[in-house]
């Protein structure tokens, strides 16, 4: 078969599929692809506020930044700030994802039984998802307010000193993690509850017949039964948490100092907050974040595959 004939045949068989996926590929290609290529290019230059193309009054100044090869990457990887931020970002991600997952799993297990008020509990526990995140974060700021927030007023009622929720480096770290867990539990809960409901009840009955205790049933039926759901959910939530810009930015702006600054908020600070705005460094941080996540996802997928999950 000649090459053209083969291509024509492929088009004939697959054009339905291609036509159906075309809109998504097109939108992602243009809206993410072009900026991404441009971002990678910027990361190889020394572009900043002072040398990019810009207009000052009537004068139009052309871009004067130069290609600098991998210099930015070398600078980032030898920078203590980067490793410090990376350390906290990893702590933040692991802390948030594991707490969210365990809380979600515990609540889903409790809800997956016949009990009075099940629907009410389920609705109430998913509620944080229905409130837009920036509204919730705003609310939490109000609750955390050191002088007037209700949390400290309640503590004062119990004779406990005011806690500097967002103004002390350690407390601020705990506070942002708490808010993110609060925001993330509903998604976990819903996904895991669905996973639990898809495990056939006969398995539990059979195990009980054979004298398996509650823990053994959980260990040998529930955990394997949830593997598929938790595989996907853990991967997604790790990615989302690693890049969780709004929670940190709206709650603490990365402060106090840079105590709660994760990689993404730092990259944002470089190109939007700091002066002069350093576009190339910001782009470099962005590319590094992307590479880190892609590597983590690839490793994770390989690990899943070894256990027999394929996607």
């Amino acid at each position: 078969m000649t090459r053209t004939a083969r291509i024509r045949r492929a088009c004939g068989t697959h054009w339905y599929a291609w036509a159906m996926t075309a809109p998504v590929v097109l939108v992602i290609g243009v809206i993410i692809g072009i900026p991404l290529v441009r971002g990678v290019y910027l990361s190889l230059t020394d572009a900043n506020e002072a040398n990019v193309e810009r207009s000052i009054g009537m004068n139009h100044l052309p871009a004067t930044y130069r290609f600098t090869g991998l210099a930015n990457y070398r600078a980032v990887l030898t920078d203590d700030v980067f490793w410090g931020r990376l350390g906290w970002t990893v702590v933040w991600t692991v802390g948030c994802v594991s707490l969210t997952f365990l809380t979600g799993l515990a609540l889903a297990t409790l809800l997956n039984r016949s009990l009075r008020g099940r629907t009410f509990y389920r609705l109430a526990l998913i509620l944080p998802w229905a409130v837009p995140a920036f509204i919730s974060v705003f609310t939490w700021r109000m609750l955390y307010n050191e002088k007037n927030g209700i949390l400290n007023k309640l503590l004062a009622g119990g004779g406990i000193d005011a806690v500097p929720w967002l103004n002390d480096p350690v407390w601020a770290k705990l506070s942002v993690i708490a808010v993110n867990v609060w925001l993330g539990v509903p998604f976990m809960l819903v996904a895991l509850l669905g996973g639990l409901q898809s495990i056939p009840g006969e398995l539990y009955e059979a195990a009980e017949m054979d004298g398996a205790g509650a823990w053994q049933r959980f260990r040998h039926i529930t955990v394997p039964g949830l593997r598929a759901v938790s595989g996907t959910v853990l991967l997604l939530s790790t990615i989302w948490t690693f890049n969780m810009f709004p929670v940190i930015f709206l709650l603490t702006r990365g402060g106090p100092g840079d105590a709660t600054e994760i990689l993404v908020t730092y990259a944002y600070r470089l190109s939007f907050v700091d002066s002069p705005r350093n576009f190339s460094a910001s782009a470099t941080w962005g590319v590094v974040i992307l590479v880190l996540l892609a590597l983590a996802a690839a490793g994770y997928r390989r690990a899943l595959r070894r256990q027999g999950e394929v996607w």
Binding site: P35, L111, W129, A130, Y268, G286, I289
Partner: protein, 284 residues
């Protein structure tokens, strides 16, 4: 989901003490989940000087609401948001469904890279794309246009939705497609007339997810929409913060009003949430 079959052991098997512990745990979790939004709602009915009192509403007032609705451009921003988010939801659900269907039913060259592409887009640090994206939208003449924001929102919501829809279509028997083909429908016809109606719970979940994601988006909205009359709620609320630094009363009222549409969509979709999301994540 009140009517789902519960494959659990009969209630008689549980000790009363265990039952009490179960309810106590769930009640505690419920309080933690519900308290912040509830407190927001309560505060919004307090006169602005009482915003930080710990008591419940002592002087009930709608003053915060009337101020927000009549004294600011809130309604205009609200309309802008509805337009952008509505368009995003309709378009997003549609293209997520076609993509999910293609990936679920056909084996075609480029399918694996496509799945990877969908996952990869979840990894882009939004904050870093903003500058190049701003330049791109400016070049396309889409700054300050609802269309520009709709396009960018699609890239945020659609990848995950396409994954969910794929999982959902995987649960619909292939025999239905075959029956359609026998009756002379082409793949588009099969998809549109036979499979899509069966996937309604999946569509509800996808729609909910897209709506909530777009409704809550802040970074793009405040970077790409400027000028009082173009702002969406996220951006509008920020001018609000600067304008009324200490006016927590108006802020809470605005926050409650913003949360209402999301809550309505939630109420509509929540019946399907568990089934829809699970199909997506297990089979994804």
């Amino acid at each position: 989901m009140a009517r789902t079959r519960t494959r659990t052991r009969p209630r008689s098997a549980r000790h009363p003490l265990a039952s009490a512990g179960l309810h106590l745990t769930l009640a505690a979790a419920t309080v933690i989940a519900v308290f912040p939004p509830l407190w927001l709602l309560i505060t919004s009915f307090k006169p602005r000087n009482d915003a930080f009192t710990t008591s419940l509403v002592t002087h009930f007032t709608l003053g915060n609401y009337t101020h927000v609705l009549a004294g600011t451009s809130f309604l205009r921003w609200f309309g802008n948001s509805l337009l952008v988010v509505g368009l995003t939801t309709v378009l997003g659900v549609f293209i997520a469904a076609t993509t999910g269907y293609a990936v679920s039913r056909f084996r075609f060259p480029g399918m694996r890279p496509l799945m990877w592409l969908l996952l990869l887009t979840q990894m882009f640090p939004v904050a870093v794309l903003i500058v190049p994206l701003y330049n791109l939208l400016a070049a396309l003449g889409l700054l300050n246009q609802p269309a520009g924001l709709v396009l960018t929102y699609l890239t945020i919501a659609v990848p995950f939705c396409a994954w969910m829809m794929k999982g959902f279509f995987d649960t619909i028997p292939v025999e239905i497609d075959e029956a359609g083909r026998v009756d002379g429908l082409n793949p588009f016809g099969t998809f549109w007339r036979l499979v899509l109606p069966l996937a309604r719970p999946g569509l509800a979940v996808t729609g909910f997810y897209t709506f909530v994601t777009a409704w809550a988006e802040v970074a793009y909205a405040s970077a790409f929409m400027t000028g009082e009359e173009n702002l969406t709620l996220a951006g509008g609320l920020q001018t609000f913060v600067n304008q009324y630094t200490n006016d927590w009363g108006s802020m809470t009222a605005a926050a409650v009003l913003i949360a209402v549409p999301a809550a309505l969509v939630f109420a509509f979709a929540q019946r399907h949430l568990v089934a829809g999301l699970t199909a997506g994540t297990t089979k994804g």
